[in-house]
Point group: C2
Chain length 97, copies 2
Amino acid sequence: MLNQSSALDLAFQALADPTRRALVERLAHSPASVSDLARPFSMSLPAVMQHLAVLEGSGLVVSEKVGRVRTCRIEPRALSLVEQWINTRRTEWERRL
Amino acid sequence: MLNQSSALDLAFQALADPTRRALVERLAHSPASVSDLARPFSMSLPAVMQHLAVLEGSGLVVSEKVGRVRTCRIEPRALSLVEQWINTRRTEWERRL
DNA sequence: GACTTACTAAAGCTATTGCTTAACTTTTGG
DNA sequence: CCAAAAGTTAAGCAATAGCTTTAGTAAGTC
C-alpha cells in the first residue's frame, strides 16, 4: 500500500494518538523545545521525538533548530484544514434536515 | 461510557482512513445501506463493513437494521466533538498572537 | 421450497504503529 | 579540553490495522 497519503490522512492520523494530541494542546499555549515537550510524559525521549516527527510530517507542527535546541510550534492552518473538513460534513448533513 | 479522551481517540482514528472519510462524505448527503455504501469501492464487502464498524465504534455513524437491510447515518454530535477540540486548540493559539 | 440478496462471522496474512534500548553527534558551560 | 545537555539515528519487537477469503445466517422473491 504505497499510495501517497493526503494531507487529511496525515493530519487525522497524527491527531488520533493521545500523546500527540497532548503535544498539540501543550503547543497551543506556546512554542516549546523537544525536551520541554517530552518532560511530562513517562515515555522515552526518542518516543516523543517520533510523535513530533509524525506531527511535523502532517504539517500540524513546525520546528526550527537553533544551537542544540529545537523549538516546536503549532501551524494553525493545518488545524483549519481538518476543522473545515469536519465542518463541511456536519453542515451538509444539517442542511438536509 | 467513554471518557472524552477515548472518544477523541476513536473519532480521530476513524477519520484517519480515506475509505472511512469517503463513507462519512457519502453519508453526509443521506443515509444509506451497507451495500450502497460498499458499491463504489473496489474492496470486498467485509472490508467496508469493518470500516463501518470502526465508524460506529467511534460514534460518528449509527445504524439500524430493518429486515435484512442495515441503514447507516451520520451522528453529527460526534463530528461536533472533534470539530470543537480542533477549534479550541486553534483559538488558543491565535489568541496568543 | 429453492434461490437470491444483504449482511455477518471468523480466520489469516502483511504492513504499520508505538514503543524500547543503545549508540551516536553537536552544542555549550566551566 | 572535558563533560553534561539536547537532540538524533538505528535496530528490534509486540500489538494493531486493513485487508483478504471462506463460510455462514436471516430475509425477501419466485
